[in-house]
């Protein structure tokens, strides 16, 4: 029970009177928790790497997916927003170390001030992540899934992305949503109906001869790629998605199976189905860590205000939550690299 006694002399003593590895009990256990959590996160990121290597030819290009910035509509700003989020998190890490540093000097008010800044930084980060999720789920361009399960996106003759809403016209259709009142208990609508139906997109595609289909495959510029008659000449860029000729596009469109708008756990308009799953799971799990970090920080912040650590003459609790908070920042550094950069 030694660890729970709050007088200054006894907090530093493990039961037997010495400190293995020169660290207090709480700090060492926090380190070991961090080790296990780090392995959990690396498991997720390694699984992401596995799936990406497995579908290396067709994986979505992240800088085409995350292009939004608040208050800048229609502007493609790849990476700027995540970069901003990264800065916010690094900065909240800095205020956390400053709090720990002030704790060493037993400056209660300074600790409280820096803790407050850290909490605010954490909240801004979680909020930013929510906004990022919103954009990801809503989507921007829309796409078509073929019967074979591959994804078709639309570009004009120069290779610029075209949104579904820019060329598809809603036709008067007889399609009626299945309501509870018309259904028996086992009948449900498969998914929320999309804005446009497959027939509408197909008709609109026929009516717009300037449109082309962009496949999931990444153009490599190899000899086979150059000889491929299905690929439009002159618009291909190495390490970008392949653009088909009008004829090949038309052929692919005949195979259309469903309209995909935005992202969910089953399919997404960006490409590989697994991409959205990993996005939700990894950034979600990290966001959950940030969220719980904020909660823990608030508890410690209140304790600082109440003078709990002032009475103990030791701010080691601040140091311990600090370790956790830095770890969350550390994980984000890796998520940032492997999800957005590589």
């Amino acid at each position: 029970m030694g660890a729970t006694v709050t007088t200054a002399t006894e907090t530093k003593v493990w039961g037997g009177g010495n400190e293995p590895m020169g660290a207090s009990y709480g700090k060492l256990m926090m380190w070991f928790f961090i080790v296990s959590d780090a392995l959990t996160f690396s498991g997720f990121l390694a699984a992401y790497g596995f799936s990406r290597f497995k579908f290396i030819e067709t994986w979505p290009l992240p800088d085409e997916v995350f292009t939004h910035f608040p208050f800048m509509h229609g502007v493609s700003a790849p990476m700027y927003y995540v970069a901003l989020m990264t800065f916010i998190l690094i900065f909240s890490s800095v205020t956390m170390v400053l709090a720990v540093d002030a704790g060493h000097q037993l400056k209660q008010r300074k600790v409280a001030f820096y803790m407050l800044l850290t909490i605010i930084g954490g909240l801004i980060f979680v909020g930013s992540q929510a906004w990022e999720w919103k954009n990801f789920i809503k989507g921007e361009y829309g796409a078509i899934e073929t019967k074979g399960g591959s994804l078709l996106q639309f570009v004009d003759a120069t290779g610029k992305r075209v949104k579904l809403e820019d060329f598809v016209v809603q036709l008067p259709e007889e399609r009626v949503e299945l309501k509870r009142s018309n259904a028996t208990w086992y009948m449900t609508e498969a998914e929320t109906p999309t804005t446009y139906s497959v027939t509408e997109v197909q008709a609109a595609f026929k009516a717009h001869p300037e449109l082309r289909v962009r496949t999931e495959r990444i153009y490599q510029g190899t000899k086979e790629d150059l000889a491929d008659a299905r690929l439009e000449k002159g618009v291909q860029k190495v390490k970008h998605k392949e653009i088909l000729t009008r004829e090949a596009s038309q052929k692919m469109m005949d195979n259309a199976h469903m309209v995909v708008e935005g992202a969910n756990l089953w399919r997404n308009e960006y490409g590989s189905k697994l991409f959205a799953d990993f996005f939700f799971f990894i950034t979600g799990f990290h966001g959950f860590h940030v969220f719980s970090g904020v909660i823990i920080n608030i508890i410690i912040f209140l304790n600082v205000l109440l003078g709990t650590y002032e009475k103990r003459r030791s701010y080691e609790m601040v140091e311990k939550v600090g370790l956790y908070w830095h770890f969350v920042d550390l994980v984000w550094v890796f998520v940032f690299t492997f999800f957005y950069l590589v």
Partner: protein
């Protein structure tokens, strides 16, 4: 404070590390947006130079976060090894196994007679 390490204020170093981390992040983002042709198309050990730079810079960032912010530099060598050694070994092992396997499965799909993406 019957603790091993001294408790002088380290504010200057904290801000220095913050500056360094910011510079590294800025460089990463700039490279990610520009994607210089030379770096993006040339590969070493079957990974392009751009990705090598990203990964190395990330490890540098991680080093500074753990060493300066989490104050690993002030801990005993035994604690450093117990934490960092374990994590690095297991992560390298896991990543090696999974990436090699992923690449193998890619090959199976690519060379199979069944067309799976159409």
């Amino acid at each position: 404070m019957a603790h091993g390490h001294e408790h002088v204020s380290n504010t200057k170093r904290i801000w220095q590390v913050f500056g360094l981390l910011s510079v590294i992040t800025t460089v990463e983002v700039a490279l990610g947006i520009i994607k210089p042709e030379v770096l993006h198309t040339n590969t070493i050990l079957s990974m392009n130079l751009l990705n090598w730079i990203f990964i190395i810079l990330t490890v540098v960032k991680a080093y500074y976060i753990v060493w300066a912010f989490m104050h690993m530099e002030g801990e005993k060598a035994s604690l450093r090894w117990a934490v960092v050694g374990t994590v690095i070994f297991l992560i390298l092992y896991l990543v090696f196994i999974l990436l090699v396997e992923g690449d193998y499965i890619y090959g199976v799909f690519a060379n199979s007679t069944i067309k799976w993406n159409f």
